[in-house]
């Protein structure tokens, strides 16, 4: 029978004399993975573990900075591995996902190559230009493979490069400006990931990617607002731009959540607003008597939870 869930079996064990054999049969037929799923999983699991362990092994090897190894060999080994993995991606007949996993390993090795380069020529492993070069040199692969884990790695690299550039070169930029830029950048990526595939009739971006980017965007916005509204005492006009933009993005987010019945957006944004409003109340009322902010937090949290549960109930009934 189709559509039997674990919960059904549990309910039936409570209200019938279903025996161990019956429950086991129901679980095996409907819930547990069958031989075919296991074969697919084991194949994917072994290849992923293999490539993760081998890449980690290479990273650990070069992190050890073995002095007896000549520079030529150090750089040569990594370059050889990059060439080998890329050639395998291009010419060996394999499934698309496996091809992408191997290319992802190659993209990681480019980072290792720059790290080894930094180690040999003493430029330091956290120099921003090292991350910039890594980002630039894998760009083509990322675009061509269009593989979500690779995109995530690429976006992380851009963020890291930007933060390192700020710390090492443009130290006159304020922390707020940096956070604001990161927030805008990640939000644009999120919007792109959601709408570009629709426009170009491509396969939809996986949900986990969109959820991760939503979490990143909302966290950055929350930190930014906390810095401006709660911890900062001297107000500047640029804050107005930052604040209006954040409010606009949140409004668009809520509008999108309501029109497309997207629970993730609604939950993240409401929790962010809960944290921010609690912070505001603590800042303005908390210094004399802490009981009002505490009472506020209790009531606000309960209201947000009740609202989320109600909305979900309504949406799932409407579906």
């Amino acid at each position: 029978m189709k559509d039997i869930y674990r919960e059904d079996i549990q309910i039936f064990t409570r209200h019938s004399n279903l025996t161990k054999i019956g429950a086991e049969k129901a679980l095996e037929e409907n819930i547990y993975n069958n031989a075919e799923n296991w074969r697919k999983f084991l194949s994917f699991f072994c290849l992923s573990l293999g490539s993760v362990f081998m890449t980690a092994g290479i990273v650990f090897f070069f992190a050890g900075n073995w002095a007896e190894l000549p520079t030529f060999v150090k750089l040569g080994v990594v370059e050889f591995l990059i060439i080998a993995t890329v050639v395998a991606t291009l010419f060996v007949k394999i499934h698309r996902t496996i091809r992408n996993i191997i290319l992802n390993a190659a993209a990681f090795l480019v980072g290792v190559l720059f790290a080894v380069f930094g180690q040999v020529y003493q430029t330091g492993a956290d120099a921003y230009d090292f991350f910039l070069a890594w980002t630039i040199f894998i760009s083509l692969w990322v675009i061509i493979s269009n593989y979500a884990p690779m995109w995530l790695m690429y976006i992380a690299l851009i963020n890291i490069t930007f933060v390192l550039y700020w710390q090492q070169v443009a130290s006159n930029w304020s922390e707020l400006t940096v956070n604001f830029t990161l927030f805008i950048f990640n939000t644009l990526i999120l919007a792109g990931a959601m709408f570009l595939p629709r426009i170009r009739n491509r396969m939809a971006t996986p949900n986990w990617f969109i959820n991760t980017m939503t979490l990143v965007s909302v966290t950055l916005a929350t930190v930014l607002e906390m810095q401006m509204v709660i911890f900062n005492t001297d107000y500047q006009t640029s804050y107005l731009v930052f604040q209006l933009t954040t409010i606009a993005v949140y409004l668009i987010g809520v509008w999108y959540a309501i029109t497309s019945k997207n629970m993730v957006f609604l939950a993240f944004i409401s929790l962010s607003i809960l944290v921010l409003s609690s912070g505001l109340v603590i800042r303005h009322l908390g210094f004399d008597d802490f009981s009002i902010p505490l009472l506020f937090i209790v009531i606000a949290s309960a209201s947000v939870i009740a609202m989320l549960i109600n909305v979900q109930k309504k949406w799932s009934n409407a579906k």
Binding site: I9, A63, F290, P293, L294, L295, I297, V304, I309
Partner: protein, 355 residues
């Protein structure tokens, strides 16, 4: 929510699953589905738990501000009262929101009892033992999801506190990890037996499973982070061996699923598993995460699978800091394991192609 027709279909399906005649309490089943009209997405559950924790911290702070901290008996009394309220709440309403609220009440109650008992200068073992007794009693009487889950987590926390509170007991920490490993393996692989054993066991199965799983990951994290806690690392291989044995046992069961019945093949597969996992002997976290991933996939438990993958990534990154090997040795371990995995992958694909 299921309608009458789909429930009838389920009843006729279950009749085919066993030879022994099966008697259904139809009205009770309909009622169970009527009450169970809440299916929340993971994100709502996380939001509810987050909000609940925030509310309970603020609520308990509020009570303390009102001067409750001064009265030791008052604290203990309010603590037990809060636990009583939590049980009453979970018994009367079967809703996620109320359930979370009752779990928050329970945690706040325990904090008050702790603060109250602290006034009497009781040692940590006594306080933790009281907690464990309260939690066990709660698991028996109130079978709600969040309360049972919180109880499992508190019991685990109490056991860890007792084991690490005394330096001479720290060798038992390894034993505790091994015990947790055996408990989880048994719980995952005997699902049908456990849920049909008793009505209450079927109710608390899910929260106990996730509670034990998180406890297991938690003790592995404690063990892996060198310098985080003061335990001796002389016997770090002991829990690893148990984890590896559990994995081999699982692989044996898996052979049946994969229709591998010849003993020779089974022995080879078990040997390969042992060889692949052998390098993790000084790093039980990695072996533990692999066990969690395999167990969760075996019973198709998605939350456990996700937790397994995340902990695997974490433990692998922690392996970098393991002090017992040089980076070069670690690199050799990782690279050779990687090669072995790729070899297994090629072998599996070749076998599949030949079929």
């Amino acid at each position: 929510m299921r309608n009458r027709e789909s429930i009838q279909n389920l009843i006729s399906y279950f009749k085919t699953t066993q030879e022994k005649e099966i008697i259904f309490e139809e009205e009770a089943i309909f009622a169970a589905y009527q009450n169970n009209n809440e299916s929340h997405s993971l994100i709502v559950k996380i939001a509810v738990v987050f909000g609940g924790i925030l509310a309970s911290i603020a609520g308990s702070g509020l009570l303390l501000l009102m001067g409750l901290y001064e009265l030791e008996q008052g604290l203990i009394l309010v603590g037990f009262l809060a636990i009583g309220v939590s049980v009453a709440l979970s018994k009367s309403y079967d809703k996620l929101f109320i359930d979370t609220l009752s779990a928050c009440c329970f945690i706040v109650g325990l904090v008050y009892i702790y603060l109250g008992l602290d006034h009497y200068n009781l040692d940590i073992t006594t306080i933790c033992s009281i907690f464990i007794v309260i939690c066990l009693a709660l698991m028996m009487f109130a079978q709600s999801y969040m309360l049972t889950f919180s109880s499992v987590i508190v019991i685990n926390g109490s056991v860890i506190a007792v084991l690490l509170g005394y330096h001479n007991l720290s060798y038992l920490f390894d034993l505790y990890i091994a015990l947790l490993c055996v408990a989880i393996t048994a719980l995952f692989l005997n699902e049908a037996k456990i849920i049909t054993l008793h009505k209450n066991l079927s109710k608390i199965y899910n929260p106990v499973r996730i509670g034990l799983l998180l406890s297991f990951i938690c003790v592995l994290v404690l063990l892996t982070r060198t310098g985080f806690i003061s335990i001796r690392y002389d016997y770090i291989w002991a829990p690893s061996i148990i984890i590896i044995c559990a994995t081999i046992y699982l692989v044996c069961k898996l052979c049946n699923t994969l229709q591998i019945y010849q003993n020779k093949d089974k022995i080879i597969i078990c040997l390969v598993t042992a060889i692949v996992l052998a390098p993790t002997i000084s790093c039980p976290g990695i072996a533990g995460a692999v066990l969690i991933i395999l167990l969760s996939f075996f019973v198709n438990y998605k939350t456990g699978f996700g937790a397994g993958i995340l902990s695997f990534i974490y433990f692998l990154s922690q392996f970098y800091y393991a002090l017992s090997f040089s980076l070069l040795t670690k690199s050799a371990f990782l690279f050779s394991s990687g090669l072995l995995f790729v070899a297994i992958y090629l072998f599996i694909n070749k076998k599949l192609a030949s079929k």
